[in-house]
Amino acid sequence: MKNTAIIIFVSVLMLGAIVQSDKSLAAGGHETHMENLEWSFDGPFGTYDRGALQRGLQVYRQVCSACHSMKHMYYRNIGALGYNEAQVKAIASEYMVEDGPDDEGEMFSRPGKPSDRFVSPFPNRKAATYANNGAFPPDLSLITKARAGGADYVYSILTGYEHAPKDAHLLDGQYWNKAMAGNVIAMAPPLADGMIAYEDGTAETVEQYSRDVAHFLTWAAAPDMEERKRIGIMTLLFLAVFASIMYAVKRKVWSDLKK
């Protein structure tokens, strides 16, 4: 029993140390502020909210996509947000995609199809950087995994704009943001109240837009999450039952030594 206790203690210590060291990595830079929101996808049973995902896609399409690509996404993927096939086709066809070469060897433009990738706003990284005052707007397909804090971080960036303190030196095209490492960001505040018209009557505020787009980006980075948790629960249940049986068997087998 004593040794079992030691093993448990050592494992807990190990996991604790690992998690702790991971957290301390996330810090760095100046004082930053991160909101801590509640999300429907939190916890072992959490799921995405289809309404929030659709609104988030709308925010991305109408605002963020002017600067940020999402190159790991295909239009067919948004079927998972609750759109039917016709709606997915309609959304895809709103974009013009370069295709070809045709039979005469020419490249041509055609309306997008579900099998196309999300169209990027710029042809390459250099063009994107040049158009944004020398700052590269990162691809958003994985952004909630690529920043500590995930959805909370995206929300905090979008709602974190403030007047710069007097002693701060901001260059042209730089803004003060309390969530950004170093507090200086080269993205102009992208959202404003009332900027996007929601059809379902949800509040049209910067906070709500930010929440929805952060929700959508979390899904885009981890579309597997719901299925993953479902399979995880089933696997854990199976292992728990199997382990209990094995424990009973072990007690039984070993009992003849105890005499």
């Binding site: 210590l13 690992i18 060291s21 991971d22 990595l25 760095g28 790991h72 597997d224 854990l236 068997v249």
Partner: protein, 425 residues
């Protein structure tokens, strides 16, 4: 190669095979009736657990390799395809990614077990050495694998670690160019890393085979560190330890599944989800958690080693760090000759026990330091803990071997087990 006496099997098919190739006799001998000390605790589960993790890594790895593209322009994208479009690709990747962590957890506990109960001592020195070799090969494999998704952290980690070899006097730079297959971490590097990452687990498998073979020659150690003397001290491996190992394995797998399915990024750095960009260095380059203690030892040597108060330098700081880091693993190879105390188990060696627990604490401390930026208090703390690490192996252990008086060691395993039962009753 005749395998000596062989008992007949009743089943004709089994008998037909066994009389031509005695695999059933072998299994029966090595895992059926194999006499095993009857006093194992749950620390003895981790060998079997590590074996299962190795097989898990090989299976998930081979299936991932069917979809993965080892090319600098395509690798990151192909991992995203695995995550998004390949059926259950996300599951394979999460199991492989977190499987590496759990493999190391099992092996670290396994190594600690060996040190606590003196399993490296005569006659198990070679068994221990093969184990340290497996550990080294695992570190190499995990390091190579971490570069494959071609992420910021993977690519820059590879740059930092391969660059270490440039500290070797004379041939350093040539060696690094050779490792890279060019003048920077680029496509040729990725391709050779993939080839080696594919190969090494099978080499590990071969060494594990030797490790287990050696184990079955000497037999297992046990928590008392007393060799079994009579039949009363042992029980057959099956069914006693087959059921106990299965139970322990299932509990371990539950933790592994819990992390892989509910906290799959807990061990991953955010910069591991950004594509590698050789033009942009991340703010902090940190290796995976299982390397952090050794990374801290590497960074602890911030000074040149030479004759004090002169300009004479024997070992420059960078080379010193590299030597310390490899030395920290290498010292395990000679542990059987550093510790010559006749008593194996730390249960009967209070001073060794205390120093070893302090070593574990120091390694955790080093792991924490390894994750911090190398500045201020962390440098000094890293140096102190590194100092203790080597003090333990080169001073404390040899000295205790000579002077430590062990508490009374029981007559036999059976006697100790009976004693314990009497106390309980």
């Amino acid at each position: 190669m005749a395998s000596g006496k062989r008992e007949k099997f009743d089943n004709p098919v089994v008998e037909w095979i066994d009389s031509r190739l005695p695999v059933f006799t072998l299994m029966q001998k090595e895992y059926g009736v194999f006499p095993t000390p009857k006093n194992f605790n749950y620390f003895w589960n981790f060998g079997a657990i590590a074996m299962v993790m190795l097989v898990t890594m090989i299976i998930t790895g081979v299936v991932l390799a069917m979809q993965y593209t080892a090319h600098a322009d395509l690798a990151f994208e192909s991992v995203q395809r695995i995550m998004r479009d390949v059926n259950y690709g996300w599951m394979l990747r999460y199991l492989h990614m977190n499987g590496a962590s759990f493999f190391f957890i099992a092996v670290y506990i396994h190594i600690f077990r060996g040190m606590y109960y003196g399993s490296y001592k005569q006659p198990r020195e070679l068994l221990w050495i093969l184990g340290v070799l497996i550990f080294l090969l695992m570190m190499a494999t995990a390091f190579l694998g971490y570069t494959l998704p071609w992420s910021q952290m993977g690519g820059w980690g590879a740059t930092v670690i391969t660059n270490l070899f440039s500290a070797i006097p004379g041939i350093g730079d040539t060696l690094v160019t050779f490792l890279w297959g060019g003048f920077s971490v680029d496509n040729p590097t990725l391709k050779r890393f993939f080839a080696l990452h594919f190969l090494l687990p099978f080499v590990i498998f071969a060494v594990v085979f030797l490790h287990v073979w050696a184990l079955h020659i000497t037999g297992s150690n046990n928590p008392l560190g007393v060799e079994p003397k009579t039949k009363k001290d042992t029980i057959p491996f099956h069914p006693y330890y087959t059921v106990k190992d299965t139970f322990g394995l299932l509990v371990f797998l539950m933790l592994y599944v819990l992390v892989s399915f509910f906290l799959p990024y807990i061990f991953a750095h955010p910069d591991h989800f950004v594509e590698y960009n050789p033009m942009q260095t991340p703010a902090h380059i940190v290796p995976e958690w299982y390397f952090l203690p050794f990374y801290a030892i590497l960074r602890a040597i911030t000074f040149d080693i030479g004759i004090p108060f002169t300009d004479i330098v024997f070992i420059e700081a960078k080379l010193g760090g590299v030597l310390a880091m490899f030395g920290a693993v290498g010292v395990l190879f000679i542990l059987p000759w550093l510790d010559t105390h006749p008593v194996r188990s730390a249960r009967f060696r209070p001073l060794y026990r205390l120093s070893l627990i302090a070593l574990v604490a120091a390694v955790f401390g080093l792991g924490y330091v390894g994750a911090q930026a190398a500045e201020g208090i962390w440098v000094i703390l890293g140096q102190l803990l590194t100092g203790y690490y080597f003090l333990f192996f080169f001073v404390i252990v040899p000295v205790l071997s000579r002077i430590e008086k062990a508490t009374p060691v029981p007559e036999s395993i059976n006697a100790a087990v009976l004693e314990k039962k009497k106390k309980k009753a």
